[in-house]
Assembly symmetry: C2
Homo-oligomer: 260 residues x 2
């Protein structure tokens, strides 16, 4: 069966480690779905804007292989059959996510609460119909047994200003990234780029940026302390060697917030 993409996802999250485990736990997460510029797709969206949630059917484009058994992102579960999980490593690379529909403008859909990655090819869009799709009390095997502690985020004044600066000048929404990544297991570095620097203190990486935080395990609180550059100061001497094309913005950041 041959499948053609009807559009593509545009958002900040480019790598798997940046995406939330499910869209429903990432309320601030926004994306665009841009359909192919085809008159019939404009028509095919007719009436959809009245729906609050939609299903996005898409291709897990970063996966080429699959295995019958996978390890879900949860301790104590062990290996499970891939059909008992929502893992992207499936015989057919088809994903489906229920996301909040914010707005439709011609062939562009603005969505919220999503877990999609930038560049994801979209295969279909369907309305979310509660009487067909919603079974809130359905039992869910290992997912039900998972004991998940949810951490709250508190952001220090300095960190808040720095993140605001990064958003305005570099375009990255670090706060949204932290809300997603540090919500559960903020000290578990298996699927996140986390470094334990001293007792209760950690640094998480987002591309070339570093964010320092402390964990209060007793009160389930993550305290965001400050943002820093991932570059060594010496790196700025070799501006030609700028693979991520962002040394200029980091130099400006360091000028405003010098290396501690």
């Amino acid at each position: 069966m041959q499948i053609e993409h009807i559009g593509v996802v545009k958002c900040q999250q480019r790598f798997r480690y940046e995406a939330p485990r499910q869209g429903s736990i990432a309320p601030a997460n926004e994306a665009l779905i841009v359909l192919k510029d085809d008159k019939s797709f404009t028509e095919a969206l007719n009436g959809l804007s009245e729906f609050e949630y939609i299903w996005v059917i898409y291709e897990f484009h970063l996966n080429q292989t699959w295995h019958p058994l996978v390890r879900p992102p949860s301790d104590d579960v062990g290996k499970l059959g891939v059909f008992a999980t929502r893992s992207p490593h499936r015989p057919n690379r088809i994903g489906m996510s229920c996301v909040r529909l914010a707005e439709i403008t011609k062939i562009t859909l603005r969505i919220e609460k999503h877990d999609l990655l930038d560049g994801t090819p979209v295969l279909d869009i369907k309305p979310y119909i509660p009487y067909a799709d919603s079974f809130p009390n359905a039992s869910a095997g290992w997912v039900d047994r998972r004991e998940e502690i949810e951490y709250k985020l508190s952001i220090d004044c300095l960190a808040a200003r720095q993140m605001e600066w990064v958003k305005e000048n570099a375009g990255w929404d670090l706060k949204n990234f932290l809300l997603i990544q540090l919500r559960t297991e903020p000290d578990n570095g298996v699927r996140k780029r986390i470094k334990h620097i001293k007792e209760n203190s950690y640094v998480i990486s987002y591309r070339t940026w570093r964010i320092e935080y402390q964990i209060d395990f007793e009160d389930c609180l993550v305290n965001i302390l400050c943002v820093s550059t991932g570059y060594e100061s010496s790196a700025f001497n070799f501006v030609s060697d700028d693979v991520f094309n962002d040394k200029e913005i980091h130099k400006l950041f360091v000028k405003k917030y010098p290396f501690n």
Copy 2:
């Protein structure tokens, strides 16, 4: 993107008019999903049996073309964009249904409350996870505005015995068919094979079988009166002309329940 089927649906419903509009309104509807006989698929099902509901991703195999605008199975709605509906006539023929998982035996899944057709190629199976999939209060545009009256079924003693006979001898579950088809708009023949014979009296066809019923519109009740054969008595003289290969069973039925 190339997609391979991982299995196929086996059930009584072969044609579109036989399927319920959504699986959730057809509690008695059973089917089997038989996966390809492959060791890795047995493993891939590991842990799934603990889930109460599953998503079946499948191919709408009876559809080859699509149109941007479609008319949903509901009066007063008019034409809608195909992305605002669950119509099978989509740019990519991908369907998804949430069904109840009853039992898994090796590579065979017994499911309930489904809206699938016999022979449907299955592309993927995913667990239903309430926190990611369930939004019971999501608003749903035209689906919310649809005023739907639900009819109850009452089955006369004769009809009950006849349907039991047909189930045992011909293998067709007429009761399940009627529960699905006469639940709403029992007098609307647009998508059902219904004939209005006299005031409040109707006949609905299921393959070569006919079922007579009366509608009490005031109390929203459908009264099933009797089952009859779709063959004229003369048709039994030409047994060689037996395209549906069921004249023998109809002859036995008529012997037990003579033409009225």
